[in-house]
Amino acid sequence: MSQTWAVVSLVGVITIAIKGFGPMLLGGKPLPPRITAVVTLLAPALLAALVAVNTLGGDRELVIDARLPGVLAAGVAIWLRAPVLIVVIGAALVTAGVRAAAG
């Protein structure tokens, strides 16, 4: 049990420090232009990585499973300019359906 609390408190404190670092030290001040140019591209780089890893990532392997058709359906819905709500629910329904069909 004390092991559990050691993990909970260490992870909590370190995560709070990681999240707080930028905004507490640099908050409200514009970054130098070159840094801004880099940080602007952080959004597409990280979002694309999050899409890729959450769709194809397994436990130290790449896997193709029911998540992929769900995310492809989301891509089609986005292309048809569906609202985000429909995109997200549609992806979950397609993935759940494929999983159910696969037994």
Binding site: L41, L46, V84, T95
Partner: protein
């Protein structure tokens, strides 16, 4: 969305932007509560962890390592690696947070992948009101889901049966596409996804996402192919 509408986005827009996802977050909160109890973490510790860490993947990693008898050091290391991306993410939102120290601290703690992504307004700007509205919504969903999971987990079952694991990449995709406005953004996205997929088989979880942030270093290069060469080349 027009630029004028963007500037006027409020807390409520933040809530609306993550409303669908909040359902999935409750589902994952439940499954974290169930897994953490099964891992022998008891009832209070999982809830405290959700309240303080507020980062799903890191909490799942820590609980699953404890459940197989892993050491404190390995559980903490895995969780910290998974949360390392919040370093650069925090730096990216910092210029948009103009409030007092305590306000910046609150916004920083509510900055997770989903809230950061919906608060993005392009050109490196973030809307603090959207961040706060979305952050409080997902925080309540995550902590509430954890409480439900600890209390009644066995009844609810596995959220992947409901396809909730596809909801996250779907949301990220819908937030990514509008960001792909120019060749540099497309290049950074391709590089980020490529790095993350290439590293996934070889590194602990979390490392691929952190390494993918290197895709933004394309920003050091002047705009390619437009003849706009004002910035010096790296």
């Amino acid at each position: 969305m027009s630029d004028a509408a963007r500037n006027e986005r409020s807390h409520r827009d933040g809530i609306r932007a993550v409303a669908a996802l909040a359902v999935a977050v409750v589902g994952f909160g439940v499954s974290f509560g169930v897994l953490a109890r099964a891992a022998g973490m008891g009832s209070a510790a999982p809830i405290v962890m959700s309240m303080t860490t507020f980062a799903g993947s890191a909490q799942f990693a820590a609980a699953s390592i404890l459940s197989v008898g892993g050491t404190v050091a390995s559980a903490v290391t895995a969780a910290v690696l998974l949360n390392a991306r919040y370093g650069p993410i925090g730096v990216s939102v910092a210029p948009s947070l103009t409030g007092s120290g305590s306000s910046r601290f609150l916004h920083a703690q509510l900055t997770v992948d989903e809230t950061w992504a919906v608060a993005a307004e392009g050109e490196g700007r973030f809307n603090p009101k959207v961040l706060l509205g979305a952050g409080v919504t997902l925080y309540l969903a995550w902590v509430g889901g954890t409480v439900l999971g600890v209390a009644f987990g066995d009844v609810i079952g596995d959220p992947s049966r409901w396809g909730l694991d596809a909801a996250f990449p779907a949301l990220f995709l819908s937030l990514l596409i509008p960001q792909l406005r120019d060749r540099r953004a497309i290049g950074a996205a391709a590089l980020g996804a490529g790095i993350a997929l290439a590293l996934t088989p070889f590194t602990p979880a979390g490392v691929p996402i952190v390494a993918a942030s290197a895709g933004c270093l394309l920003g050091l290069r002047a705009e390619a192919g437009t003849g706009d060469e004002e910035e010096p080349r790296a």
